[in-house]
């Protein structure tokens, strides 16, 4: 009986050069239906606590979600997970594009990679034909060339290539992984893990169909077609298609919570030069991911003061703002170039730009000087220096070698007050969302398993007004409409529910831009598709939330076993200090109130407020009591 998956997992030991196929059954899949849940299960069971993230012993899991590859918008994503070389915690990053669906068509749900190859290799998967191939001649080359060389070598232009650039080869601790040159597993340094294993790429080609393992494809196809037609009829989906994420820059600036100059300010004087109306002038095309009608991906091309290739896509909001206002740069050409370089070198644009902003603040405070920067005047606003440092980081040259370690490690090396300017949690740099303007995002930065990411939860602004279409999309989740800056028990409850919903998306391969409240796919439609894919007619919305909660508990248990506790669930000191200017001038997070809210989050989650370990009762409720045995609770 089909239940949405082939149940096949590839196991590849790069040290031994061995390739095996494992199989899981439906009972297993009910608990761990892909993505984050499957990754958490494998890492808890197979990765010894304390393992060096860049050692051969680290385990890299690449896992499709339950819905990845469905003929349905926003169901393209796959998870990469391992111990993070940036944070030392559970590390994870999702990407869209085409690679995950292709792996599904090849008949595999996940790949578990261990060991380290003696020399650079790449993995070739063509349906059930799997082999390790020599990648010595690919090492050091950029993704566009590597993709072309692999397609030529395999004599197949339709092979989908997941790969690292030189940032990954050089084990930059926040190196990303790219597929099709313009889709990224950006955060937590999964590219460095690949690089440490001498694994350059994974090429996949499949001849199967999603339909092969779906319980009932008809409802999935019908809702998928309806969603395709509805994109232009729904304001949020239309906005994602027409403007994409760069449209956020102007709104956040007007609201006074656009992270500017390393989170010191909330408005950027040069915003007119980087917001959507300026971006449109370098926009060269719009793209999408597999079977997705939303088409939110941008492509830019510049042939002026900077040359920017269209091959590597275009900057998203995070990148425009990270290399823009956050570094004090209002030169959109330079921002586009920095984005292109990050994509060529496979560096996470958020951590790269944030680490450069950290260095800029250190430079302005005299903690580093021209000697350390190799003569670069690394002040806020120096676009040319910013672009140069991206290259230095990828190549680990000069100041780049220090900054390739991430802002937390760099601050420790620099000393003095440098740690105050490293705006990170658990070692990962905050995304371009100011928690002083939306505190739920701050709760996520704090309790999220790998630090400063913005996609643990739904942002407070979307669920502040009970009459808005964004809030109405959450009605089946039974949350309350709350002001974005309000802390307290009600916000803690909202957070836990919305974190479970977002985590569920990471388990089943849903893009953040598909479902409500960020976009137009209604909760009921998601439930209908899960039921059709699996045949689990008894599944409810509460069960979807439990799927998400279970995955979060697996990741939390991983962290506890690796020495993380309440002291690591924090925010940078700057978030407790007032914004310097703009409409939010003077706004800060009340430290005591924030801690009280975290207490309530832990209580609702059933986690110990000191160790943050999930309780046995909660783990039993989630049908993963075996985790309590691991934790000794």
């Amino acid at each position: 009986m089909a239940y949405g998956t082939s149940g096949k997992i590839l196991r590849i030991d790069l040290t031994q050069g061995s390739i095996q196929v494992a199989q899981f059954d439906e009972d297993f899949y009910r608990l761990y239906p892909g993505g984050k849940a499957l990754a958490g299960y494998v890492l808890l069971n197979e990765l010894r606590p304390g393992t060096d993230a860049l050692s051969p012993e680290n385990v890299l899991v690449i896992a499709n979600g339950l819905l990845t590859g469905a003929p349905f918008s926003a169901t393209t994503r796959f998870t990469m997970a391992a111990r993070s070389p940036l944070t030392g915690s559970y590390g994870e990053s999702e990407a869209g594009g085409y690679w995950g669906p292709e792996l599904r068509m090849a008949g595999f749900e996940a790949i578990i990679i261990t060991g380290r190859a003696e020399h650079p290799v790449y993995i070739s998967i063509h349906d059930d034909q799997v082999e390790l191939r020599d990648a010595k001649i690919l090492w050091g080359y950029e993704p566009e060339e590597v993709q072309a060389k692999i397609r030529t070598e395999l004599a197949d232009k339709r092979v989908r290539v997941l790969q690292i650039g030189i940032g990954g080869e050089n084990c930059v601790r926040y190196a990303a992984v790219t597929n099709e040159l313009r889709h990224f597993n950006g955060r937590t340094g999964m590219g460095a893990v690949m690089g440490s294993k001498n694994l350059k790429a994974i090429a996949v080609r499949g001849s199967g169909r999603y339909h092969d393992h779906a319980h009932d494809i008809k409802p999935i196809s019908e809702i998928g077609r309806a969603l395709g037609k509805r994109v232009k009829d729904h304001p949020q989906a239309w906005d994602l298609q027409v403007k994409g994420t760069p449209g956020l820059v102007g709104a956040f600036n007007t609201g006074g919570f656009l992270p500017t100059r390393n989170f010191r300010q909330g408005v950027f004087a040069g915003v007119d030069n980087i917001k959507w109306e300026a971006y449109e002038k370098i926009l060269s095309d719009r793209h999408t991911c597999y079977a997705c009608a939303i088409r939110c991906k941008r492509e830019v091309k510049v042939d002026d003061r900077y040359q920017v290739s269209a091959a590597y896509g275009g900057p998203e909001y995070e990148t425009v703002e990270g290399f823009g206002g956050y570094c004090g740069v209002d030169d959109l050409q330079a921002i586009a170039k920095a984005n292109e370089l990050c994509n060529r070198f496979t560096l996470d644009t958020i951590s790269t730009s944030s680490t450069i902003a950290f260095a800029m603040e250190c430079f302005e405070h005299g903690l580093i000087g021209l000697k350390e920067t190799g003569g670069l005047n690394l002040r806020f606003g120096n676009a040319e220096a910013m672009v140069k440092v991206v290259e230095l980081i990828a190549k680990r040259e000069g100041i780049g070698n220090l900054l390739a370690e991430g802002s937390k490690r760099a601050a420790q090396a620099i000393g003095g007050d440098a740690h105050l300017y490293a705006i990170q949690v658990k070692g990962m740099e905050l995304a371009m969302h100011d928690p002083r303007g939306k505190v739920g995002v701050g709760i996520g930065y704090s309790v999220g398993e790998y630090g400063g990411d913005h996609l643990y939860t739904i942002h407070d602004t979307l669920v502040a007004n009970a009459e808005s279409i964004t809030f109405k999309g959450t009605e089946p989740l039974a949350i309350a409409a709350l002001p974005p800056r309000e802390l307290g028990a009600a916000k803690a409850r909202n957070y836990t529910i919305l974190e479970n919903w977002t985590s569920f998306g990471k388990v089943v391969g849903l893009c953040y831009f598909g479902p409500a409240p960020r976009s137009y796919m209604q909760v009921g439609e998601v439930l209908a598709v899960v039921r059709a894919a699996t045949g689990w007619e008894d599944v409810t919305v509460d069960d979807l939330l439990r799927i998400g909660e279970r995955a979060t508990n697996l990741a939390r248990a991983f962290n506890v076993l690796n020495g993380f506790s309440r002291k690591d669930d924090t925010l940078p000191e700057r978030m407790f200090q007032p914004v310097e200017d703009g409409p939010m001038a003077g706004a800060s997070i009340d430290k005591e109130e924030f801690q009280k809210t975290l207490d309530e989050v832990y209580r609702l989650k059933g986690w110990n407020p000191d160790t943050t370990a999930p309780s046995r009762d909660r783990l039993r409720d989630l049908d993963i009591e075996w985790v309590a045995d691991l934790l000794g609770v």
Partner: protein, 76 residues
């Protein structure tokens, strides 16, 4: 006056313009302009006149003003 409709607010207006220029013979309430354009007030999360945040219901606008309206948004 100059009006900027951020993000998906422009979806509600025919032709979906992000920017509009509107002649105002006399000062009016921002709420009146919102009603005239048939913008759903519940979708306006941020309203600013000449860079200062205002209440849609209470703010008065005149022909020299630059008005920005943005819907709830987050995550990207």
């Amino acid at each position: 006056m100059k009006l900027h409709l951020g993000s998906y607010l422009s979806w509600y207006v025919p032709q979906h313009p992000s920017r509009m220029e509107i002649n105002l013979d006399k000062p009016i309430l921002l709420a009146e302009l919102v009603a005239q354009l048939k913008l759903p007030v519940e979708e306006i999360a941020i309203a600013a006149v000449n860079g200062t945040l205002v209440s849609v219901r209470e703010a008065q606008i005149s022909d020299e003003d630059i008005v920005e309206l943005h819907p709830p948004n987050g995550g990207g």
